[in-house]
């Protein structure tokens, strides 16, 4: 009995996995690991649990450790549960120059949590991240794959308000 028994991608996602593997020469399916981990995170509640990683390992014919070491290296992979809406605020130079600290402070007050934490109702996780390539439209934050740029506190309020009422989960893909 393995922990992966009840974890399975939808048929649609499995087809995507197969399509991804075909991009590489035979025997190089390990190259599909990052794309497949993204699919796994999107499909299994926004984070990568050990059983989910084991499942990905079995799909790509890898040892589980090969998946763990990769998942723990890249900052977009969450190894802990996150809120339905993951807010990632850039705080590197250009965004800081134009007020990223104020955005973070405002969100902390508004959500009643510190950066790195999740609200008790599981709705929001607040995270600060390093430069997302949006320096010319600073300050910015990312929710799912969506860039929110040229932020003001009012804009932040509006975006958070929108997510308050949303049932779905923010996702990159």
């Amino acid at each position: 009995m393995t922990a992966t028994d009840n974890i399975k991608f939808s048929d649609e996602t499995l087809a995507l996995v197969q399509k991804t593997i075909r991009r590489y020469p035979p025997g190089r399916q390990k190259s599909a690991l990052l794309p497949v981990l993204h699919l796994a995170q999107a499909e299994f509640d926004g984070w990568l649990s050990a059983p989910v990683m084991d499942y990905v390992a079995s799909l790509l014919d890898l040892q589980p450790i090969e998946v763990y070491e990769v998942a723990s290296f890249y900052s977009m992979f969450n190894l802990q549960p996150v809120g339905r809406c993951l807010i990632e605020v850039c705080h590197t130079s250009s965004c800081w120059l134009l007020g990223a600290d104020d955005i973070v402070k405002h969100l902390e007050q508004k959500l009643g949590i510190k950066k790195g934490q999740t609200t008790p109702d599981g709705k929001f996780t607040l995270k600060t991240v390093e430069c997302l390539g949006s320096c010319g439209t600073a300050p910015m934050m990312m929710i799912g794959a969506q860039f929110h740029e040229n932020l003001t506190l009012e804009k932040v309020d509006a975006i958070v308000g929108e997510w308050e009422g949303k049932g779905e989960r923010s996702r990159y893909c």
Binding site: R23, P25, R28, K30, S31, A32, L33, L34, P35, L37, H38, L60, E66, E69, V70, F73, Y74, S75, M76, F77, H91, T92, S93, S94, W96, L97, L98, G99, A100, D101, D102, I103, V129, E130, C131, L132, G133, S134, C135, G136, T137, A138, M142, A145, Q146, F147, T152, L153, Y172, C173
Partner: protein, 464 residues
């Protein structure tokens, strides 16, 4: 157009018309240019047609003649890099596009891919034909997921039109191009870390040699080029290497995309002909439009976070008093003592209110976060530097800490497998070199820290 700033640049205005030259972004304003139909209507894929009628080596020769240098930051001659590619019998070769753009202050590749995705796709096919690569990958940073969709759409359109796949335009050349997504790691912009990541591993840079040109992706000969570099191959094939080499200034041939950000009136991506005076770039309405809120310029990081920061007097003029130009050579004039680098073209402008120490802290935190951890000097040194700067910033530092900081940075450079070590050390060294007084102020007058305006408060940014 009149230039309103003092320092004598009005006399340059006569040559300005020829200086503002758009090659890559000449069509970026055209509605629908992201689609194949509109792109082709404006001359798209003509360069590919021409390339397919040439001998592959002749294309490499044109790129050599063009003087094109790697636009990702290192500035290595592209044609030379291509000519290093090993061609053993029966072994596939690969072209990999580095779209991992993560150097703080840099967002030009994102702009180019978002607006004109087919320019990159065409560049991938032309370059692959020149290199004899039947497969190529565009490795894009994970945070640019929405651009992955744009690129995939462009690639699908190209396949449907016979511009990708088997026997492209009847030439007998087969090529497949795929987009690979990253997952948040600056280090994957280093070419060997990128290849590791593309192989499904942690982004730990490889020891060189062997270089990717000999042993790259899956141990096969591989060329890794930046998005802008590959895009520039399209106009080079179109106009010929000699014509391209005539654009720009000296060994800084062609145009460069500059990502301008910070305290300027008009942040954004600008394509400049290399050689535009820095002062013109900052103050002219054609580019950055001057410092916002009528403030004074304090300092500039000219080529992405890893290049040395320069104070106003050294970014506008060289130590010898010559106007500083936006070129590899002029920005590098004076070495690191008084100069900097063009790097990736990530141009971050800071006004008089900016705390250089706090800005440096954001860089130090960045490099600490992004170090892959493989080499001790970088893994330990980046964290150590971050902690010292934080201590100074919090008003708990001593004068000896400033010397310690200098000492730590000096022991990272040249002692790591990849250049992330240097990238982390250089900004620290430059900040102390040019702004030591500011570090000292944090130490000697901690009570004054509250007075230091770290940043604009958002409510002051809002229009009245």
């Amino acid at each position: 157009m009149t230039l309103q700033f003092a320092c004598g640049y009005d006399k340059k205005s006569e040559t300005r018309q020829s200086m503002s030259k758009k090659i890559l972004l000449k069509n970026d304003h055209i509605p629908g240019i992201n689609t194949l139909e509109v792109y082709r209507k404006h001359g798209g894929y003509e360069s590919l047609k021409k390339a397919l009628s040439m001998a592959p080596d002749a294309i490499v020769e044109e790129v050599k003649k063009s003087g094109l240098r790697g636009r990702g930051g290192a500035g290595f001659p592209t044609g030379m890099k291509w000519s290093f590619l090993a061609k053993p019998e029966g072994v596939p070769r690969y072209l990999v596009c580095n779209a991992d753009e993560s150097e703080p202050g840099t967002f030009k590749d994102r702009y180019l891919m978002e607006r004109i995705p087919h320019l990159l796709v065409e560049g991938m096919i032309v370059s692959s034909f020149a290199l004899g690569a039947n497969t190529s990958y565009i490795y894009i940073r994970g945070e640019y997921f929405y651009i992955l969709r744009i690129l995939e759409k462009a690639i699908d359109e190209a396949y449907a039109a016979g511009l990708l796949g088997k026997n492209i335009l009847g030439s007998g050349f087969d090529h497949d191009c795929y987009v690979q997504i990253g997952a948040g790691a600056y280090i994957c912009g280093e070419e060997t870390a990128l290849l590791e990541s593309l192989e499904g591993k942690r982004g730990n840079p490889r020891l060189k040699p062997p270089f990717p040109a000999v042993k790259g992706l899956w141990d096969c000969p591989t060329v890794v080029n930046n998005v802008e570099t590959i895009a520039a191959v399209v106009p080079i094939v179109e106009m010929g290497g000699d014509t391209y080499a005539g654009i720009g200034i000296g060994k800084s041939a062609g145009t460069k995309l500059i990502s301008a950000s910070g305290h300027i009136n008009k942040p954004g991506v600008y394509e400049i002909e290399l050689g535009v005076p820095v002062e013109e770039f900052i103050y002219s309405d054609e580019y950055c439009g001057g410092i916002r809120n009528g403030k004074e310029l304090k300092a500039v990081v000219a080529g992405g976070s890893s290049v040395p920061i320069l104070p106003k007097h050294l970014i506008l003029k060289t130590a010898a008093g010559e106007p500083r130009l936006m070129s590899y050579e002029s920005l590098g004039d004076g070495g690191f003592a008084t100069g900097t680098m063009l790097g990736s073209g990530g141009f971050i402008v800071m006004d008089e209110d900016t705390s250089i120490v706090k800005n440096l802290y954001t860089f130090a935190r960045f490099y600490h976060h992004e170090s892959c951890g493989q080499c001790s000097p970088c893994r330990e040194g980046t964290g150590w530097m971050e902690r010292i700067i934080k201590k100074i910033l919090d008003g708990k530092g001593t004068l000896a800490d400033i010397d310690l900081l200098w000492d730590v940075q000096s022991k990272i450079e040249g002692k790591t497998i990849c250049p992330l070590g240097e990238a982390a050390a250089w900004p620290v060294a430059a900040a102390i070199r040019h702004f030591r007084h500011e570090f000292e102020e944090y130490v000697t007058r901690p009570e004054g820290i509250r007075e230091v305006r770290h940043y604009y408060r958002l409510n002051r940014l809002e229009p009245a």
